[in-house]
Symmetry: C2
Subunit: 141 residues, 2 copies
Amino acid sequence: MFSKSCQYAIRAVIYLTAHGREGQNTGVKEIAEALQVPQQFLAKILQELVRHHLLSSVKGPNGGFFLSEKNLKMSLLEVVECIDGKAVLTSCVLGLPQCSGVNPCPLHHQFVTCREGMREMLVNKKITEISADLLPQVSRF
Amino acid sequence: MFSKSCQYAIRAVIYLTAHGREGQNTGVKEIAEALQVPQQFLAKILQELVRHHLLSSVKGPNGGFFLSEKNLKMSLLEVVECIDGKAVLTSCVLGLPQCSGVNPCPLHHQFVTCREGMREMLVNKKITEISADLLPQVSRF
DNA sequence: GAAGTTCATGTTTTCAAAATCCTGTCAGTA
DNA sequence: TACTGACAGGATTTTGAAAACATGAACTTC
């Protein structure tokens, strides 16, 4: 469904909502170790999010990443579309470029229904919200 | 969502339901040209389907692929699981190996709902059925 | 039974995603 | 101002899916 980069991005954001301490930045190293993903690769992904203003960062000692007030209002959909592109949620299941509502493939209509559910989920999952969901959990994301 | 191989597989099966002539075999060449996909690569995929008894074939001149009575009763889910493996419809959205109903990731429950819709669609899409859906269409699949 | 056609299959090549390497830039501290 | 820690980003390598190549096996027809 989503690329590995995208999965890492979502997990990193979730990690920040859960473990990001108020007014304190979190380094890539810490995030990468917690998520057990390659640090340098994760850094690239986080930089991409920063470039798209979905995440904030500060350089230098005690620097790191954090979610600003504005960032927290974002939905997961924005993260997904930033990394995997808008096409993930619009392109044809069968990979047909000409497939659309007016010229649908045999699976089009039913698949659109499924996918809209997915989009709904991603739009409604505000980053703030996730934090609350996570409270009873111990596992690492 | 699905791999390219899987998309080709589904499209090939759809092509056969629509263009496969009764008691006559259809060669890879014809299918590949119609779908505009690499012939040798498609051949591999079709062979995989044959090995799993989801498609039938005969060798030699006038040989080719066809859907037997038994094949026509299969659902698209079987095609998908044959090519992409069962995991496509069960693995965690975030790629977490330990994610499950009892130890869910923050997106687990909502994603499962979406995915069940998808599974339903694939189970209900019997191969026979697709043929009927296609009648009013001209486009190539 | 020889020739030609078509599926079957093992091996190699290509290409993009994933991962790593290396250097640059910025900020804080002494 | 020099040093250090951390993000930024270009370039390169690795990996695995996708595609191409080459050969073998089965079947038809003449």
